[in-house]
């Protein structure tokens, strides 16, 4: 049996040991999708390759999302101006280790990528009015100093609880470590009641970090306007619904809500913002 490469290459742009930025399609507060979506809009990004889906995804049917049939995609994009290689993908259902190695093979062999960043959201019991934080996990301790310079949290302690499994980003970080590629998982806080919609402040903070780290020179004007609009909508809801206002006030004062209150707040905010 001839073993062929699991990826297709469309273009080989001139990147000089770029950084690889990875995001998955399933994410809290659509953080990765929106953050990278913004880069697509603001930077000159072009598609350069993809991982072939066979063997990694189920082909027993198709998924429908937002009324539209979906097909799994795993694509590489490049931004030569900023020396960035971006990988956007659905999480593979099978052969995750092989898939993640294929991602790093592509980045390492064809572009000599030396650094990996994964983007993801993490649910927080915070109020949306509080500043977001980004917690980081590194696979080489030297990276911590660099990240601390941007004010990111670099002292996370975590162990997968029983009955759960590590995230795909954690596994990618570990695979990168085995291949001596320096890597960082970026976990941006998303208030739990914005987890099902866009958390624009979390997206902006993540973009802010990428902007500073890779000197992207992003114009945040459009995003600032969207954040202003989202804040006004939530303010409107708070004025209309005193119970929701009370819940948010409690969170702002550092008071935890009950499980039922959490559920109610998330439901009301999601429905209101999706109207």
């Amino acid at each position: 049996m001839i073993s062929e490469e699991p990826f297709k290459i469309y273009k080989t742009p001139n990147l000089q040991s770029p950084s690889l930025v990875v995001r998955w399609s399933q994410d809290v507060g659509k953080l990765g999708i929106k953050t990278i979506g913004y880069l697509h809009k603001k930077l000159g990004i072009e598609e350069v390759g993809e991982i072939k889906p066979l063997g990694f995804f189920s082909f027993g049917g198709v998924k429908i999302e937002d009324d539209v049939i979906q097909s799994p995609e795993s694509k590489f994009y490049s931004c030569p101006r900023n020396n960035l290689l971006i990988f956007e993908s659905n999480p593979p259902r099978y052969e995750q280790y092989k898939f993640l190695n294929a991602v790093l093979d592509f980045a390492q062999h064809y572009y000599q990528a030396t650094e990996l960043y994964t983007i993801g959201g993490v649910i927080s019991l915070m109020a949306h009015t509080a500043p977001r934080r980004i917690s980081t996990v590194v696979n080489q301790p030297e990276l911590k100093q660099t990240l601390a310079r941007y004010g990111l949290e670099t002292n996370m302690n975590y162990q997968t609880p029983p009955g759960e499994r590590p995230t795909l980003s954690s596994l990618l970080l570990w695979v990168a470590k085995r291949r001596n590629i320096a890597g960082v998982n970026l976990w941006t806080e998303v208030p739990f009641y914005l987890a099902a919609v866009d958390d624009l402040r979390a997206i902006k903070y993540t973009l802010w970090f990428l902007d500073k780290r890779f000197e992207l020179d992003i114009d945040f004007g459009e995003l600032d306007l969207e954040i202003k609009r989202q804040n006004e909508r939530i303010k409107q809801l708070r004025e209309q619904n005193l119970e929701i206002n009370k819940f948010i006030e409690m969170l702002e004062s550092g008071i935890m809500l009950s499980e039922d209150e959490n559920k109610k707040l998330a439901k009301e905010v999601t429905e209101f913002l999706e109207e």
Binding site: S58, Y94, Q96, Y97, K98, S135, T136, V137, V138, N139, P141, K144, E153, T154, N155, M156, N157, Y158, Q159, T160, R165, P166, T167, S170, L171, L173, W174, K177, N185
Partner: protein
């Protein structure tokens, strides 16, 4: 896909005893108990990342320290009768949802395990699992013995407390052993190794619950320990059995009386073919099973 050896023990025609998780974890508990009783020493492992998704990440002070995968380890020991290799797999590799191995990965895993066995001159493989059947949980489980060659039948007939498929009413020598506990013996047969699967009985009405069934593991341990010359100490297994029995009894109390009446009749079920009719007829057995199925919405099967 590779095997990592920590040491190369010198072994004389060892038997291989293998355990993977399954219904009631009967096989893996039995094999692990035997490994412990035999004080077997770890000597190799199958690298897990091609087969399994990790089960735990450890992050300390912002740094990824460890990624833990399900373990697949080999152990060895020498008893008064035989040299032994144990293999214990914490999970069965699957290509889709489900707890039981199937497809290419399962076949690869089976071959890797046998590669190690053959490297050390092994000629015989034992696996163990569950036989889901119509018994009551207060009954002493028997062990169904399924060899991978006809020539082994006279031997297994001599094992204590065991029964062949052909001696079970309604089975007509047929059945399925789901997952790697069965597949391994099929692959072993292809590669010229003798193999015997020992299935400890578990009541059909318990198979759907996330319960261990150490009582059946104990029955398997007794058969294997005797055969392999392992001195047995059943204290731990008996303690575990008592704990699980308490849980089962609590569960049993919650069963509606009309279903419990049917389950009580299982105390008198004799599934082995008999010369004379037993206290419960074949018709009774069918009716009991139908009623139980209606309550638990499950079908009988073995792993």
């Amino acid at each position: 896909m590779s095997i990592k050896f920590y040491q190369q023990p010198k072994l004389q025609r060892p038997d291989l005893i293998v355990g993977w998780p399954g219904i009631g974890n009967i096989g893996i508990i039995a094999v692990d108990a035997l490994r412990e009783m035999a004080r077997a020493e770890e000597f190799a492992e199958i690298e897990p990342w091609d087969f399994f998704y990790p089960k735990r990440v450890l992050i300390k002070d912002g740094e990824l320290k460890d990624m833990e995968f399900p373990s697949n380890k080999f152990y060895f020991c020498q008893t008064s009768k035989k040299d032994l290799i144990f293999f214990i797999g914490e999970e069965q590799p699957t290509e889709a949802e489900g707890a039981y191995a199937k497809g290419e990965k399962a076949y690869q895993m089976a071959n890797l395990v046998l590669d190690v066995a053959l490297k050390f001159g092994c000629e015989r493989v034992y696996t163990s699992g569950a036989a889901v059947t119509l018994i009551h949980h207060t009954a002493k489980p028997r062990v169904w013995a399924v060899p991978n060659r006809k020539e082994l039948i006279p031997e297994v007939k001599g094992y204590e407390n065991t029964i062949l498929m052909s001696n079970i009413t309604g089975r007509v020598s047929q059945g399925t052993i789901t997952g790697l506990n069965g597949l391994l013996l099929g692959v072993a047969k292809k590669r010229g190794l003798d193999g015997i699967c020992l299935l400890g009985e578990i009541p059909a009405y318990l198979q759907g619950f996330p319960l261990l069934y150490p009582k059946a593991s104990r029955a398997v341990v007794e058969v294997l320990a005797n055969r392999l010359g392992i001195r047995i100490d059943l204290t731990n297994l008996d303690d575990l059995t008592r704990q699980v029995e308490d849980k089962i009894n609590q569960l049993y109390e919650k069963i509606p009386p009309e279903v419990k009446d049917k389950l009580e009749q299982l105390k008198y079920v004799t599934y082995a073919k008999e010369e004379k009719p037993g206290p419960i007829t074949e018709e009774d057995k069918k009716r009991i099973m139908k009623d139980i199925d209606k309550f638990f919405q499950k079908g009988g099967k073995e792993d």
